[in-house]
C-alpha cells in the first residue's frame, strides 16, 4: 500500500512549518539589525568588565 498521497493535513502542517521558519529567519535578521543600530549609537559603551579583559 502506498502512502505517497498527500493528505490535506500535511498541507496544513507544511504551512505551519513554513510560517514558523519564515518568522524565525525574520527574527534573526531583526535581532542582527537591532544590534547593529544599538552598537552604533553615540551613547553605547562597552561594559567595564569586558574592557579589562
Amino acid at each position: 500500500m502506498s502512502l505517497s498521497r498527500q493528505h490535506e493535513m500535511h498541507n496544513r502542517r507544511f504551512s505551519r512549518n513554513l510560517g514558523l521558519g519564515i518568522v524565525l529567519a525574520a527574527f534573526v535578521a531583526l535581532v542582527f539589525g537591532l544590534t547593529m543600530v544599538k552598537v552604533k549609537t553615540d551613547d553605547f559603551t562597552v561594559p567595564l568588565s569586558q574592557e579589562v579583559n
Binding site: M9, R12, R13, S15, R16, G19, G33, L34, V37, T41
Partner: protein, 318 residues
C-alpha cells in the same frame, strides 16, 4: 506532532475529520483586527512623542507591542473559549472551533508574552516594557478572568487594557509617562464603553446566551442608551481638550470638533430611540453609531499623527 493526530478528536462533531492546525490558525489567535488598532495607536504615541528615535528601534518597538497585544488575544481566547463557543460573533475562533486546543493557546500566549516584554525592554527601555507587561496582566487577569464575568462595568474598566498602546509607544520613545500620553490613554479608555455598548444593543442575544453581565443584560437597554450618551459627552470634552496639549493643534481641533459633533449626534439618536423603533429598522442607528465609532478613534489618532508629521515643517501644533 505525529500522524496520530489524524484521529485527533479535537473537533467534537467533526471528530472523524483529521485536523492539524495551520499557520493562519495561530495567527488568528493574535486577534489581528484588534492588533491593527494596537499598532496604529502605539505608532501615533511613538511619533507624537518629543525627541527622535532610530527608525529600526521604532519599528522593533511597534512590532513587540503588537506581539504583546497578540499574546493578550491568545490568552483571552484560552480563558474565554466557553463564552466564545456560544456567541455567534466568536464561535469560529480557533479554540471554540477546535482548530487549536486551549492548552496550545495558553502556551502560545505565555511564550509570546515573555518574548514581547523582554524584547521591548532590550530594544527600548524598562518603562515601556513594564507598561506592556502591566497591559497584558490587566487584560488577562483583571478584565478577562475577573471583571468580564462579574460586573456590568466590565467594559469600562477593561477598556483600559486597549488604551495603553499609545502610552507604551510614547514611553518607548521617551522613557517617561506624561500628561499627553495619559490623555491619549484616556481617549481610548473613554471611547471603549460607548463603542461596545452600541454593539451590545444589537447583539443582545449573544451576551444573554453567554451569561456575560453586559449593561444591556443587568441594567436594561434604556439604561444602556443613557450610559452611551453620558460617556459620549465626556469623551467629546476630553477629545477636544486634547487639542490644547503639545500633541494637538489647529488641524486636530477642527477635525475633533467635526468628529465629536457627529458622534454626539449619533449618541443622542440612540438615546432618543425606544426598542420598538430600533427593532423596526433592525438597529440601524445603533449599527451606524458602532461603525462611526471605529472611524472616530482612527481619525483622532490620525489627526495627532498629522500634527506630529507636520511639526518639523513648522505647520503642526500651536
Amino acid at each position: 506532532m505525529s500522524d496520530a493526530s489524524l484521529n485527533n478528536p479535537v473537533l467534537g462533531n467533526a471528530a472523524a475529520e483529521p485536523y492539524d492546525s495551520n499557520f493562519s490558525d495561530y495567527f488568528a489567535l493574535l486577534k489581528p483586527r484588534v492588533m491593527a488598532l494596537v499598532v496604529f495607536t502605539a505608532l501615533i504615541g511613538l511619533i507624537a512623542a518629543p525627541g527622535s528615535i532610530h527608525p529600526m528601534i521604532g519599528f522593533c518597538a511597534i512590532l513587540f507591542i503588537a506581539v504583546g497585544g497578540g499574546a493578550s488575544g491568545a490568552l483571552n481566547m484560552w480563558w474565554d473559549a466557553d463564552i466564545d463557543a456560544v456567541m455567534k460573533r466568536t464561535r469560529n475562533r480557533p479554540v471554540p472551533s477546535g482548530r487549536i486546543t486551549g492548552q496550545e493557546a495558553l502556551g502560545f500566549g505565555i511564550t509570546l508574552t515573555g518574548f514581547s516584554v523582554v524584547m521591548l525592554a532590550l530594544a527600548t527601555n524598562l518603562v515601556a516594557a513594564g507598561l506592556l507587561a502591566f497591559t497584558i496582566f490587566f487584560y488577562i487577569v483583571i478584565y478577562t478572568m475577573w471583571l468580564k464575568r462579574w460586573t456590568p462595568q466590565n467594559i469600562v474598566i477593561g477598556g483600559a487594557a486597549g488604551a495603553f498602546p499609545p502610552m507604551i509607544g510614547w514611553a518607548a520613545a521617551t522613557g517617561t509617562i506624561s500628561i499627553e500620553s495619559l490623555m491619549m490613554f484616556s481617549l481610548t479608555f473613554m471611547w471603549t464603553p460607548p463603542h461596545f455598548w452600541a454593539l451590545a444593543l444589537f447583539t443582545q442575544q449573544d451576551y444573554d446566551n453567554a451569561e456575560v453581565p453586559m449593561l444591556t443584560v443587568t441594567h436594561g437597554r434604556r439604561s444602556t442608551r443613557i450610559h452611551i450618551l453620558v460617556y459620549t459627552l465626556l469623551l467629546a470634552a476630553l477629545a477636544i481638550a486634547l487639542a490644547y496639549t503639545s500633541v494637538g493643534g489647529p488641524i486636530y481641533l477642527v477635525g475633533a470638533l467635526l468628529l465629536n459633533a457627529q458622534f454626539v449626534r449619533g449618541a443622542i439618536g440612540i438615546w432618543r430611540r425606544d426598542e420598538e423603533a430600533s427593532q423596526a429598522d433592525r438597529f440601524l442607528t445603533e449599527r451606524k453609531f458602532f461603525k462611526a465609532s471605529l472611524l472616530y478613534l482612527f481619525a483622532h489618532f490620525g489627526l495627532i499623527g498629522v500634527e506630529a508629521l507636520l511639526a518639523p515643517f513648522g505647520l503642526g501644533g500651536w
